[in-house]
């Protein structure tokens, strides 16, 4: 009886060791580590011809942004939400003649991103149908028929682990809004004017 109990204890002991060994093997670290994400912050900056319009509450030209994607060098894309707390992207409307657009401080998108090299920012936009000047002049805006809804700001940038990358998306309204007799034609002229790593 004693012998049987001894054998049972030995078997139980080795069995436990085997189970622990299995657990230890399955929970072991992989041979690579997952980095922490970086943050990308997209700011809109407008350039205007101040003899035609200005950054005042009385002037207004809006663009509707339906989606913003950043494209990584391997072709992978990530959607940029409106801010870090957002769960998904919703269509947002921005006044390009907002004083914050003059100061490059109008945030149009902010998200956590995997570190890596990125090549461009894609934006799905719809321009407003009118420019309001001086609070009372409603100038109709027609879209250049050759212009699509998607625009791509092409310039390489890098997202580093745990760091913020601020990208200034510049919309040159002095060239994008082409003055006609009593209307504007919208043909967007845009670029990434600067990238700041913090």
């Amino acid at each position: 009886m004693n012998t049987k109990r001894k054998i049972f204890r030995i078997v139980a002991f080795f069995g436990l060791c085997l189970v622990l060994l299995g657990i230890n093997l399955s929970c072991g670290q992989y041979d690579y580590s997952s980095p922490l994400p970086g943050i990308v912050s997209l700011h809109l900056h407008s350039i205007v011809d101040t003899t035609q319009m200005n950054f005042t509450p009385l002037d207004n030209f809006v663009i509707k942004v339906a989606q913003i994607n950043v494209i990584r060098s391997d072709g992978a894309q990530a959607i940029i939400n409106a801010d870090l707390s957002a769960l998904q992207r919703t269509t947002s409307i921005y006044n390009t003649l907002d004083t914050r657009a003059r100061d490059s401080s109008l945030v149009v998108g902010e998200s956590y991103l995997p570190p890596g090299d990125y090549v461009s920012v894609g934006m799905l936009i719809q321009a407003g149908t009118q420019v309001v000047l001086d609070g009372y002049r409603d100038i109709r805006v027609t879209l250049d028929p050759s212009v699509g809804a998607a625009i791509f700001f092409k310039r390489p940038f890098h997202i580093a682990e745990g760091q913020r990358t601020t990208i200034i998306l510049t919309l040159d309204l002095s060239k994008s809004l082409i003055k006609q007799v009593d209307t504007y034609i919208f043909d967007p002229v845009y670029s990434i004017s600067s990238i700041q790593y913090e």
Binding site: L133, D134, Y136, R137, I139, K179, Q180, V181, D182, T183
Partner: protein, 629 residues
């Protein structure tokens, strides 16, 4: 002695193996490849030569291969360049026998008919590339083919016949084609040959058909619309002046398509250097002075000619058309021309070295028995002369009176030729005829649509204008709104002008650097008392009626706001709206022209605190500065 069982078994094995030895031992050769066979469909009986109705003919063929399959067809045809010339052959064209590549045609949903320059031996591999695409061609390649571009397959070029922009492609499938055969003579013999290429790259014998095609008649062309009046013209189009428009059309019952070329003053260009435009399918064109041999010349002729799909051009430029009565009887003939004469005027104010001059168009009502409050044409002329002299324009302006007292008060208007001499025009409408009845606000000589068009054309080519108008749009007959919105840059949305009393104008507040104005009581009060129907006791501050109040349109900027007696309101579509601070003056500074509009008469206002005599000079000085910018 019986053979042993072992021997018998060995013999049986040998017998069984003998057939195997015979069949596996090759002593012959493969069957030779059999050539593919091609047959033409819809052909007349053999040894019959038909003559087609026109040089365009659709042919159908089929091909098969007894020991394989057909990968492509090749065709060519014979032609002659002249009646006595040798018979020549077009080079072979190769079309792949593919039916599974979607993306062709105008809709993009048909099968592509793919052409290639691959050699026959290479055709099977090109064919193979496409034939195994179970999921069709990838989008980038399909888009390239659809756009008419060439792609590269197995070292060969491949392109589509039925692209997105080709309404009438030669091929929509590999086994048919609609061809246009060279037809320079009255009768042109052709032999069309088509052969199949099989999966080993072997070419079969061609199937043939012979036929004659007739010479093609030229299309007819007609100039439909062109300016009958003199047009102002510039070298380059602008946002407000696209050019002088001509519209035309061509006719050719045999041709599915027509395109056109045009030229101005064909016979005035050096021989051999006539700059015919490129052929386009557009049936309208805008012409500028750059299209003239001499941009400053005034008399021109526009020529247009059509080309049909067979390449034949209408070089005659006219044709005779019958005129029918209501019973379809011919009652005469008319010559339809593909050319038209027109006149142009290059504005001198747009030429280098021009010395600015200014024209005052006095469109005011001329009171017969003039007083300061009911002025004659001459009084208003004198008033503006004083102001212009004050502004430094002495000797550099002219005055045009619309009321011509020398011709028993007929109403005339400056021509385009007159306007073109001046870089600035001041349109004055400072007096209205409302003697004894305030509802009669007519001048007796409204600014008709013809006269509006003259002013609009002057502006569209780069003119500048200042408008001083009492009561526009009503006395100016501007009720259609076009002139008010496009020139004055005021919205013209008052529905029933007869029921709107724009009363109580006693001045205007200047905006954007314009001085304030008040009614000159020394002129106005004596002759313009309060109307009998007005409520309340008589009041010397009652002011003017019919000074238009609205909102700016387009790029128009506010320069004056209405000042009225406190109680005056206007019934606007059932709503009572106070006139105070309503907009009564605008400024438009566009890309090509500038306009300053004042909806009150400068003749009847003063600028408080201004030393000039008359003091309204300050307003005119500011307006001149603005239109010159």
């Amino acid at each position: 002695m019986k053979p042993s069982r072992t021997v018998l078994f060995s013999l049986l094995i040998v017998i069984l193996c003998l057939p195997l030895l015979w069949s596996c031992k090759g002593t012959g050769s493969f069957n030779p490849n059999q050539l593919p066979i091609t047959r033409l469909a819809n052909v007349p009986p053999p040894d019959t030569v038909i003559t087609t109705a026109n040089p365009r003919l659709t042919l159908y063929w089929i091909g098969d291969d007894p020991d394989g399959f057909v990968v492509a067809f090749q065709y060519r045809w014979s032609y002659r360049q002249s009646a006595n010339g040798p018979i020549l052959y077009k080079p072979y064209t190769t079309i792949l026998n593919l039916w599974n590549i979607v993306g062709g045609g105008v809709s993009g949903s048909d099968n592509f008919a793919l052409l290639t320059d691959a050699a026959p031996a290479n055709l099977p591999s090109v064919y193979h590339y496409f034939s195994v695409l179970l999921n069709g061609l990838d989008n980038p390649h399909a888009d390239s083919l659809s756009a008419g571009d060439t792609i590269h397959v197995s070292g060969a070029h491949v392109w589509a016949s039925n692209t997105k922009t080709n309404l009438f492609p030669v091929h929509t499938k590999p086994t048919s084609g609609t061809f246009i055969f060279d037809s320079p003579d009255s009768l042109n013999p052709h032999t069309f040959e088509v052969l199949a290429v099989d999966n080993l790259g072997a070419r079969g014998l061609p199937a043939k058909i012979s036929f004659n095609t007739p010479r093609v008649s030229a299309p007819k062309t007609e100039l439909l619309a062109w300016p009958l009046d003199t047009s102002m013209v510039l070298s380059d189009p602008s946002v407000s002046w696209p050019g002088i428009q001509f519209t035309y059309q061509g006719f050719d019952p045999n041709s599915r398509t027509l395109d056109y070329e045009w030229v101005v003053d064909r016979d005035l260009w050096p021989a051999g250097q006539v700059p015919w435009s490129p052929f386009t399918t557009a049936t309208a064109v805008y012409v500028t002075a750059k299209n003239f041999p001499n941009p400053l010349a005034t008399n021109h002729t526009f020529y247009v000619r059509a080309r049909n799909e067979f390449g034949v051009i209408d070089t005659i430029g006219s044709y005779i058309a019958a005129i029918y009565d209501a019973n379809s009887n011919i009652v005469g003939y008319d010559t339809i021309r593909a050319q038209g004469d027109f006149k142009t005027l290059y504005p001198p104010f747009k030429l280098p070295g021009y010395n600015p001059r200014l024209l005052v168009i006095n469109n005011s009502y001329s009171w017969p028995d003039a007083t300061p409050g009911r002025p004659s044409t001459q009084q208003i002329d004198q008033y503006y002369s004083q102001m212009l002299n004050n502004c430094g324009w002495a000797g550099k302006y002219d005055i045009f009176d619309v009321v011509d007292d020398n011709k028993t008060r007929t109403y005339i208007f400056p021509s385009k030729g007159t306007l073109a001499q001046y870089s600035i025009v001041i349109f004055v409408a400072d007096a209205i005829n409302c003697a004894g009845q305030f509802k009669d606000y007519s001048w007796g000589h409204p600014l008709t649509s013809d006269r509006q068009a003259v002013l609009e054309e002057y502006l569209n080519v780069g003119g500048r204008m200042i408008i001083s108008a009492w009561g526009a749009p009503w006395p100016l007959n501007l009720g259609d709104g076009q002139f008010m919105t496009s020139v004055c840059h005021m919205q013209n949305d008052i529905g029933d002008v007869d029921t709107v009393d724009h009363v109580g104008f006693i001045g205007a507040t200047g905006v954007a650097g314009y001085p304030n104005v008040v009614i000159d009581t020394a002129k106005a009060l004596v002759d313009w008392p309060k109307p009998a129907a007005a409520p309340g006791p008589p009041d010397t501050t009652w002011g003017f009626h019919y000074s238009y109040v609205g909102q700016p349109s387009g790029f128009g900027e506010i320069i004056y706001r209405y000042v009225t007696t406190p109680d005056n309101i206007v019934n606007f579509f059932g709503n009572n709206i106070a006139l105070n601070a309503g907009v009564c003056g605008t400024r438009y500074q566009g890309i090509t022209y500038n306009v300053v509009y004042m909806g009150f008469p400068l003749y009847f206002v003063n600028c408080p605190g201004v030393a000039d005599v008359p003091s309204a000079t300050a307003v005119l000085r500011k307006a001149l500065t603005d239109v010159n910018q």
